[in-house]
Symmetry: C2
Subunit: 171 residues, 2 copies
């Protein structure tokens, strides 16, 4: 299953594509879409839409997983991030992808085993899970890969627990 | 100047189009885009995009004004509303419209003179400003008209104060 993970944002929108099978995942591509703060929010959203479309056309993922944003930080950046998430979601759904949201704690739990892991732990585990020689670059794209891995491993086709249950039922 | 005002939301997205001149405004069209809660957020955003495109194609506004959402209410509905605002903003910018955001208190102040006016006062003033026989229908579209009027009257071509200053300078 190929998943595109999105860590939404206007200034930096992390994008990571992974191929996942049961208990395994490998890196396809990773990057960050950046838009300058000097441009208006609507213009920046237009750029994000265009860039995400290029990612989807190039890598043809089957699913999109977006980090769910909470309104705990400062109001302006949350509004920006949520609008970027809306554009990502729109682009994914329009392209016929299955689109899902995962919370930061779901992502941390899925890749590290702990919902309260810090950024360094998430990056370390993403590096190991994808068997990379070093941490993903750019560094701020590691979260996008973590989101993609989380989604893949929660899905019915790639979830170890679901696979084990299915195997038992098949007996 | 023709302005499309957007009161963003997933369940109800208010849309109002007005034509404005200095000190005057008239109704062009008003309505609400509704999407059922039974559908996924990404699918609902796709519908909102398609419907807003139809509004823009039909009424050809020069500017789009979106109500700026704050994260004071419950988290889920704010996330939905901000994602809808992002899609509206994207659609407007892509269509070449000038896109701006106005806060609820700016809108209240512009149409009623008070930033703390209640919903009934806003509806009453919108009805009077647009010289309607009765309150706009559907009722939940009145805010979208208020946002459009606010934007029009804040602009340099339709602002009474700016016009008065320009007239004095012209002497």
């Amino acid at each position: 299953m190929r998943v595109i993970g999105i860590d939404p944002g206007l200034t930096r929108c992390g994008v990571g594509v992974v191929d996942a099978r049961i208990g395994r995942a490998s890196l396809v591509a990773v990057g960050v879409i950046r838009t300058p703060a000097s441009r208006s929010t609507p213009d920046r959203l237009v750029t994000i839409e265009a860039e995400l479309l290029r990612w989807i056309e190039e890598y043809r993922p089957e699913a999109m997983a977006i980090e769910r944003v909470f309104a705990q930080q400062n109001l302006h950046s949350v509004a920006d991030t949520m609008q970027a998430a809306g554009v990502a979601s729109l682009v994914g759904a329009r392209a016929g992808l299955e689109v899902a949201y995962h919370t930061p704690s779901e992502v941390k739990a899925a890749v590290t085993g702990s919902g309260t892991a810090d950024k360094a732990q998430v990056t370390l585990m993403v590096t190991r899970i994808l068997r990379l020689a070093g941490p993903p670059k750019p560094a701020d794209a590691a979260d996008a890969l973590a989101i993609a891995v989380t989604h893949a491993w929660r899905g019915p086709r790639t979830n170890r627990y679901a696979a084990a249950v299915a195997a038992l039922k098949g007996k």
